[in-house]
């Protein structure tokens, strides 16, 4: 059987989706195991406390110190403020076999994905990001790439984000393959420019970074809610969150990822303007896509300001990052498909 390059590309896309699905399941199992580990640690602390009571030791002693328990046992065996006060309160948790499987499968899926993208490019005889199917293909590849790069270089173990990343990539890739697919066709004159290579690639890269920043901000919000519960000494359920970095660390990580995304977005906007001047005769014309690029830029500028504003650092600024990424997704899907404008390159 003789396959064309594009058929090979499609085959790779579907294979990658299967492997992403396996990775997603593995990462999910890992999250479940984290919850179990957190519960076990709480239980262990509880047992320890009971034993301490049984042997008549002072029940308010810090029996939990030195252990990896999340909770210093009190009479009611609630996680107390002291354990969470330093911002740790974390259950030590190594890398479970399912986490390793998840990462390995993500790497494999990434290789298939990369092959799909490259063969698509060769099939079309140009860069593979000139219509919506190709944007999705390349954009999701970049999301995975950014994730893999970040887990290699980051001092913190961010593998737990795998569930989000593989899930998002799987959904986007699935929608793209089923609904956005168009066969490779040549570029219309308006897209025949070196700026297609630069502008669209940098835009996709910043989307990859914003996606990761979004995930971190969501986890940060969940974590800070849990920390608030711990602080008020209300019972906080032992969830996988206990095994993750504290909310301040998550916020700092989200910020670092988002500012790189923001700089790239700024560049995207400028490169787009230069291209617009060449192709449409004006560098800025409030075309719908330009409007949304501007809105996203302003929202992330607001996010950066919010982080430097007293009373806004923390959860409030995290919400802005979440709104920002929602706008990015809106820009990519709804604006591309339903809004009238000059960026009519979905190919659909």
């Amino acid at each position: 059987m003789q396959l064309t390059l594009d058929e090979i590309s499609i085959l790779c896309v579907y294979s990658a989706m299967v492997v992403y699905a396996i990775a997603f399941i593995a990462f999910s199992i890992d999250l479940a195991k984290r919850s179990a580990a957190a519960t076990a640690a709480t239980d262990a602390a509880l047992v320890e406390a009971k034993q301490a009571v049984a042997v008549g030791a002072a029940s308010d002693a810090t029996a939990g110190t030195g252990s990896t328990a999340t909770a210093a046992p009190g009479a009611s065996a609630r996680p107390s403020k002291t354990a969470a006060g330093t911002g740790t309160g974390a259950v030590a948790y190594g890398r479970s076999p399912s986490l390793r499987v998840g990462v390995a499968m993500t790497v494999l899926a990434w290789l298939l994905h990369l092959t799909a993208d490259v063969t698509r490019g060769f099939a079309a005889g140009r860069v593979p990001w000139a219509n919506m199917y190709e944007f999705a293909l390349t954009g999701t590849l970049i999301i995975t790439t950014v994730f893999l790069v970040v887990i290699v270089i980051s001092k913190h173990d961010l593998r737990f984000l795998g569930t989000f990343v593989t899930g998002l990539v799987l959904v986007l890739l699935g929608v793209a393959a089923l609904n956005f697919y168009v066969s490779p066709i040549p570029l219309p004159p308006a897209l025949q420019s070196v700026w297609l290579v630069i502008h669209v690639f940098v835009a996709s890269a910043s989307v990859g970074l914003f996606a990761l920043g979004f995930a971190l901000s969501v986890v940060q919000l969940m974590q800070s809610r849990r920390e608030a519960l711990l602080d008020t000494a209300k019972a906080a359920k032992a969830t996988f969150l206990a095994t993750l970095p504290d909310s301040v660390t998550l916020e700092n990580l989200a910020y670092r990822v988002n500012i790189i995304g923001f700089i790239m977005w700024t560049f995207t906007l400028m490169a787009g303007s230069i291209w617009a001047e060449k192709a449409w005769g004006r560098y800025w014309g409030w075309d719908t896509k330009e409007v949304w690029t501007f809105i996203i830029w302003v929202v992330y500028a607001g996010y950066i300001h919010a982080r430097a504003t007293r009373g806004w650092r923390g959860s409030r600024s995290a919400w802005l990052a979440i709104i920002g990424f929602s706008a990015v997704l809106f820009n990519f899907t709804v604006v591309n498909l339903f809004f009238k404008g000059l960026h009519a390159y979905s190919g659909l």
Binding site: V182, P186, S193, A279, W292, T309
Partner: protein, 570 residues
């Protein structure tokens, strides 16, 4: 702006996370006693606060949204007309709140102008402060370094035959030198006989921040003025025709506020031919445009004619103007003769494309030489094919089987009063339809080279074959490829401040990179005499703004300066 006790710190609005928390008691005392000046000052402080800037930023983002939901006059005037037709009740209400001109509306302008006033109020004092900080010495070494970030200690190496004091002095000297080499500004201090060096780096962070914000302002000003001094005009040119860059020659012209037409440099621009290439092999993209190239000659008042090209992504920069190829189509050559056989109209008439296969609509107006004024509405199909309904359509954008159909109207064209009317539309309200529609007379249908009788013996109409005589085949041989001239639709712009926008944009990007990635930090090295007489070196640092690598930087400096910390096992 709250004046801060620390002169080296960048000045920030009072609610910036890095500035000193205001004293609540003090604020409540001054609260009720505000005079006029007090209120102005209070208002100004509110406007220039971080919280207001943030609020205005978010408002700006929200205010920009409606412009993407409702068509805008600036980018889509036809969409606005359509919107008024489709929503006759809603549209005037939206129009009354400037929803069709969002980006020039009073409310949108108010938001960004307030934002920029807030910005100016923020950057002026900060710039002043930053200039002072650039000349200031790094501040005195704190008494206790152990509370600061990255605090670490190292043994002072004392070589034999040297006092510990001398060794401490030498070591601090060396630290100063190394810090200076690492880009720090350094200052020696001696506190109670303990030598120390205070160092600060990363002034560029604040510089970048100020450059970024000032350049934003620059873009706003440049865009504001650029619109004022420039112009943009549109002109349709048929192959073989010439345009002269003068006001009267434009089809439409939008001058800026400060523009006057003596600024137009007259030059001639002739369209020799327009090459259009369409996909023919890829089954999924048959007829998709591959390339449009307009071959033009440009000639100034003095000087030779130059042959140039204009392509979609490659505008022509000539005589201070930018010429863009923004559209193209067909301009069938139509000749009308009256009953006496005299030519009353002959011209290549640009037909506006309606779809990707260039089904096009055009209008012929014959004001004189006929018993009554004559109008014709025409459809042109470069490759005619018939739908199942019997209607015609074009199935390919190139000239394979070109067909022109015409509906004839007789009466008053409505052009005699001198009111400007579009050359692309015909108002049939004062005219009588003679062919097509409900008249019972078939529309006139022509291929290149063919002539038809007008109804009621009015005369004839001819669709001229424009194939050059040098060509070996023409329409009569079934080769229609050159039978209909094309037109190019050019936009001609002049924007003197465009280059400034680019420069400011580059400054924005550069300023942003520097302000987000250059760490501003202070570092101190101090030789401390312990109660037991031992002298140790202390290292610590302080972040001024975001600085994730701070502690690592202290450790690595200490390692470099005094060697790695001995592990606790030893």
């Amino acid at each position: 702006m709250s004046p801060q006790s620390d002169p080296g710190a960048p000045s920030r609005p009072a609610d910036h996370i890095d500035s000193v928390e205001p004293d609540a008691a003090e604020a409540s005392v001054t609260g009720p006693k505000l005079g006029f000046v007090g209120w102005v000052r209070f208002g100004w402080r509110q406007l220039t606060s971080m919280r207001t800037a943030l609020l205005l930023l978010l408002l700006l983002a929200i205010a920009a949204v409606p412009g993407s939901l409702v068509p805008q006059r600036s980018s889509d005037p036809n969409g606005v007309t359509q919107y008024f037709d489709d929503n006759p009740r809603l549209a005037p209400i939206l129009d009354s709140v400037q929803m069709f001109d969002v980006y020039t509306s009073a409310w949108f302008s108010a938001i960004y102008l307030l934002l920029f006033v807030s910005l100016i109020g923020c950057i002026i004092p900060r710039t002043k402060h930053h200039f002072e900080a650039l000349r200031a010495r790094p501040p005195r070494t704190p008494v206790r370094l152990s509370r600061l970030a990255g605090f670490t200690e190292r043994e002072l190496p004392v070589s034999t035959g040297s006092t510990s004091d001398a060794a401490a002095e030498a070591s601090i000297d060396a630290a100063s030198k190394q810090l200076r080499q690492a880009g720090y500004r350094v200052e020696r201090y001696a506190l109670r006989g303990e030598p120390s060096v205070s160092a600060e780096r990363g002034y560029l962070r604040e510089t970048g921040n100020l450059v970024f914000h000032t350049a934003l302002l620059g873009v706003l000003v440049a865009v504001g003025f650029g619109g004022g001094f420039g112009f943009s005009g549109q002109r349709v040119i048929v192959e073989g025709q010439t345009f002269v860059n003068t006001l009267a020659a434009f089809d439409s012209f939008n001058p800026g506020r400060f523009f006057n037409d003596t600024r137009l440099t007259p030059y001639r621009l002739s369209l020799e031919n327009l090459d259009a290439v369409y996909e023919t092999r890829n089954q999924d993209a048959i007829g998709q445009p591959i390339d449009f190239t307009a071959h033009v000659t440009v000639q100034g008042q003095q000087g030779e004619a130059e042959e140039r090209t204009v392509k979609v992504n490659e505008p022509l920069y000539t005589h201070g103007t930018d010429v863009y190829l923004l559209g193209n189509g067909y301009a069938p050559t139509i000749t009308v003769k009256n009953a006496a056989g005299e030519v009353v109209f002959t011209d290549a008439v640009p037909f506006l494309p309606q779809d990707a296969n260039l089904t096009s609509i055009g209008v012929v107006k014959v004001p004189d030489g006929m018993p009554e004024q004559l109008g014709m509405v025409g459809f042109f199909y470069p490759t005619q094919s018939e739908l199942t309904t019997g209607a015609y359509t074009s199935s390919y954008p190139d000239l394979i089987l070109p067909v022109l159909t015409l509906n004839v109207y007789e009466g008053d064209l409505g052009i005699d009063e001198g009111t400007p009317t579009s050359v692309y539309t015909l108002d049939p309200s004062t005219m009588e339809q003679l062919t097509g529609g409900d008249t019972g007379v078939d529309s006139i249908e022509l291929k290149p080279g063919e002539t038809a009788e007008l109804p009621n013996g009015l005369g004839t109409v001819t669709f001229d074959d424009a194939t050059p005589e040098s060509s070996s085949t023409d329409a009569a041989d079934g080769d229609y490829s050159q039978s209909v001239p094309r037109f190019a639709s050019f936009d001609i712009h002049h924007d003197p401040t465009q280059i400034w926008v680019l420069i400011f944009a580059a400054l924005i990007l550069g300023g942003l990179l520097v302000s987000l990635f250059v760490p501003r930090r202070r570092m101190w090295v101090k030789a401390v005499t312990k109660p037991d007489g031992r002298v140790v070196l202390e290292y610590a640092a302080l972040a001024r703004g975001e600085d994730p690598g701070l502690e690592e930087a202290v450790t690595s400096f200490a390692d470099k300066h005094a060697g790695p910390r001995p592990s606790p096992v030893e």
